[in-house]
């Protein structure tokens, strides 16, 4: 801790965790809208929509935070990733975009009394595809396949051949994409169980348990896949710190299951967030000190010291401004956030 690029890692990591636990839960809303079933399917959809409506935009800010923190603190890394991952990034972006739009259209379409046909499908499809492609993009930086194009203008002007265009599609990244998806599918029903009641709550509880099992299963599989498909990552992963973090993640995952079985939803919520945070931390610890494994180190990617310091010094000022505002927001709507959000007054 101490060098600017290490602080930069913390900043980006904070963004990743916050985006995963907040927006991840929103994406999960789309996943479970698609999978809504049983006698209360419509209620499930309605509750999901009501819960996400007022908060998705605030949660979405974390995505932009990640991008900006990346190009400010690690400009060369941002450059390399933007070139290497153009496909999954464009696909996720289209998803982000349609999902946001679908929200708006569904909200205002509903007020008109008629649902706009197709909007719900767009919402669900983009909620599934986006975390999947994001998961692929994130895991491909550890997959060991993507190459960093030489820096500088030498290559520019003429287009790169499509070689390497599929670098990011490997068994490791496909499981990575599924992990991204299951993080979302795991978080949402836990949040929802905490804020609903009765039969609906039981529905979400069952879905939460399914989500927890899926996430645990997939992360375990990923380690095995890494052994064959991403050996560089695997051997960096089986070191004490990454393993310890992974163990914490697994512990939190199991604890959520126990809490869910005992219907302690409030606690389950927190523990679930920590499970996701430790998963990301374990991944990052294995990757460290690389930004793109075997290709680009964080130090090579990092900005000048002053640039990172400027970001760090403004962070507490910004936070001091935001914290009371957020507090006000939550206090004003506290009652309703529990019972389903203020979306409909």
């Amino acid at each position: 801790m101490g060098t600017p690029d290490e602080m930069g890692v913390l900043l980006v990591g904070l963004g990743l965790v916050m985006y995963a636990v907040s927006a991840g839960a929103d994406f999960g809303g789309g996943v479970w809208t698609a999978l809504a079933s049983g006698p209360r399917a419509d209620e499930q959809r309605e509750a999901l929509f009501q819960a996400i409506g007022p908060v998705w935009e605030t949660n979405h800010v974390w995505l932009v935070y990640i991008i900006v923190a990346l190009f400010t603190c690690f400009p060369r890394g941002f450059e390399a990733l933007s070139i290497a991952l153009i496909f999954p990034l464009v696909f996720s972006l289209v998803g982000v975009n349609f999902r946001g739009a679908a929200f708006v259209f569904r909200h205002f379409g509903r007020h008109k009394g008629a649902r706009i046909p197709g909007v719900e499908a767009v919402f669900s499809i983009s909620s599934v595809l986006t975390p999947f492609f994001m998961g692929m993009a994130v895991s491909s930086i550890a997959g060991g396949r993507i190459r960093v194009a030489p820096s500088g203008p030498a290559l520019s002007g003429q287009a790169m051949p499509y070689w390497g265009a599929a670098d990011w599609i490997t068994p490791f990244t496909i499981v990575g994409g599924l992990i991204g998806l299951s993080v979302c599918a795991y978080l949402t029903p836990i949040y929802m169980a905490a804020r609903t009641a009765g039969g609906l709550r039981d529905d979400f509880r069952r879905r939460a348990i399914a989500g927890a099992l899926a996430l645990g299963f997939l992360t375990a599989i990923e380690v095995v896949v890494a052994r064959f498909d991403a050996p560089l990552f695997f051997w960096r992963f089986v070191r004490p710190l990454p393993l310890a973090l992974a163990a914490l993640a697994a512990f939190c995952g199991c604890l959520t299951l126990v809490l869910l079985l005992r219907r302690a939803y409030g606690a389950a919520r927190w523990v679930a967030d920590f499970a996701v945070a430790f998963t990301i931390a374990g991944f990052a610890a294995a990757l460290y000190p690389y930004m793109i494994i075997g290709q680009l180190s964080l130090a090579q990617a990092a900005a000048g010291r002053q640039a990172i310091l400027a970001v760090l010094t403004t962070l507490p000022i910004g936070a001091a401004l935001l914290a009371p505002s957020l507090f006000l927001l939550y206090r004003t709507f506290a009652m309703n956030l529990i019972s389903g959000g203020p979306g409909d007054n």
Partner: protein, 449 residues
């Protein structure tokens, strides 16, 4: 080279799309503030209802503004990775600060919109203050990044990169002040005129005796009058400032980016006492201006406050470093023309009101407002194109060429994809904004009144 063209086209389309929504994201908050303040000060409930009636379009436009902004922040990397690898550490800070501003805005918009029944009037008014400040701050910060591209500073060039980065110096670059002032005011002008146009149109339709097809119910007609007065008060007050701040921008451009000025005003050859050219175009082969109206010495006077000042012409720059005058000049004229188109009806409206005429019944007046209403957005798009085309071929003025900033990946498919995305978004949004609302279903807040 083709790839560069695709990348530039996509960047231009995305920014052109974003700026429309963002204009409302900045403009509506100011109108909200004024409106709620009036309601509280005068006790006239109509102003409060007016403000609340904007929550629906505002949330929609705000959300599209946010997603299109997200696309942009990715595009910086996807289209211009070489540029960002170099400049991210300099222009990152303004985007970072913008994040705080945007977040603050989002929080208080949430409070204002959903707190309609939960917060006191005074609290609602207080919510509009941080919304207004934060949205303007967003614009001012982002524009600093663009200012840096026009006047890069705060670093020492070192090989392909930058050393000794001073981010605060980069933030407070030389182009920031004039671009931020002129550019932020432009968003207010653009939004208020567009909104005024909607109300003027409603009054016109009502005058014809028919019901407005989009807003059934008597209450909405009543809102048209305060709506028109308020938006035209804000727009009309600010429009003259566009000339003042635009002139300030021009004097800056004249000193710092002479090639841009030469393209803006078509100055083929370096001249003393340069004329102002209105209309016309540059014949590239002969280097002559065709069909333009020329006002002697005016350009020297306006740009340097001296009728005999020497103005650098395009011939002072090697052909590869000249921006395309035939793009920049017509767009500049369009911006200035739009200014007059908006100025006229606002002056007319306020003089007529001052002379106690019934402005809301005067059809020619209402029609002229309707005609002027898109021109704020038009001027804003045109002005940005002047700035951006006029900077060519530089992505960072005199530091990096656009062709050195662009991605080595092929991006034509991204261009096609995003054009489709934008088309779908626009179509959906227009459908929602124009569709008849409130036939059934949960009542909208505005309809409770």
């Amino acid at each position: 080279m083709e790839n560069l063209l695709f990348a530039r086209t996509l960047m231009g389309i995305s920014l052109g799309f974003h700026i429309v929504y963002v204009a409302f994201g900045i403009g509506f908050p100011l109108l909200l503030l004024v409106s709620e303040l009036l309601a509280l000060k005068t006790g006239n409930e109509q102003y409060h209802r007016l403000a609340r009636s904007w929550t629906r379009p505002m949330t929609m436009l705000f959300a599209i503004g946010a997603v299109s902004g997200t696309i942009l922040s990715f595009e910086l990397g996807l289209l211009w990775p070489r540029f960002m690898g170099f400049s991210g550490q300099m222009i990152g800070l303004p985007f970072w600060l913008e994040g705080f501003a945007f977040f603050t805005e989002a929080i208080f918009i949430g409070l204002y919109i959903y707190g309609g029944n939960r917060l006191s009037r005074r609290a609602l008014l207080l919510c509009t203050v941080p919304i207004t400040i934060a949205s303007a701050a967003s614009a001012i910060f982002v524009i600093s990044a663009n200012g840096w591209m026009n006047s890069p500073g705060g670093f020492t060039p070192a090989g392909l990169g930058a050393a000794d980065v001073r981010p605060w110096r980069a933030l407070a670059n030389k182009a920031w002040a004039h671009e931020a002032i002129h550019g932020a005011l432009a968003t207010y002008v653009a939004a208020s005129f567009a909104i005024a146009g909607v109300y003027a149109l409603r009054l016109l339709r009502k005058g014809r005796g028919g019901m407005s097809p989009d807003r059934p119910g008597p209450t909405n007609f009543n809102l048209s009058r305060p709506g028109l007065s308020l938006s035209l008060a804000v727009g009309g007050l600010l429009v003259p400032l566009m000339l003042v701040t635009g002139d300030y921008s021009a004097t800056w451009v004249a000193r710092q980016q002479p090639a841009k000025l030469a393209a803006m005003e078509i100055v083929p050859r370096t001249t003393r006492g340069a004329p102002m050219v209105i209309g016309g175009w540059l014949d590239e082969t002969t280097g002559q201006i065709r069909y333009g109206l020329q006002v002697p010495k005016l350009l020297s006077l306006l740009a340097f406050h001296d009728p005999d000042a020497r103005v650098l012409g395009l011939d002072a720059f090697p052909p590869a470093l000249r921006p395309d005058a035939n793009k920049v000049h017509p767009l500049f004229d369009l911006m200035v023309f739009s200014f007059f188109v908006m100025l006229a009806p606002s002056v007319w409206f306020w003089i007529a009101r001052w002379r106690k005429k019934d402005v809301f019944a005067s059809r020619p007046l209402l029609a002229s407002i309707v005609i002027a209403s898109p021109f704020g957005l038009v001027a804003q798009e045109a002005g940005w194109m002047v700035t951006e085309f006029g900077r060519q071929p530089w992505i960072a003025y005199q530091v990096m060429n656009v062709s050195n900033g662009v991605t080595p990946r092929s991006v034509e498919w991204v261009l096609v994809l995003f054009v489709l995305v934008y088309a779908a978004l626009t179509a959906g949004l227009l459908k929602l904004l124009l569709a008849p609302e409130a036939k059934a279903g949960a009542p909208d807040e505005e309809e409770k009144y």
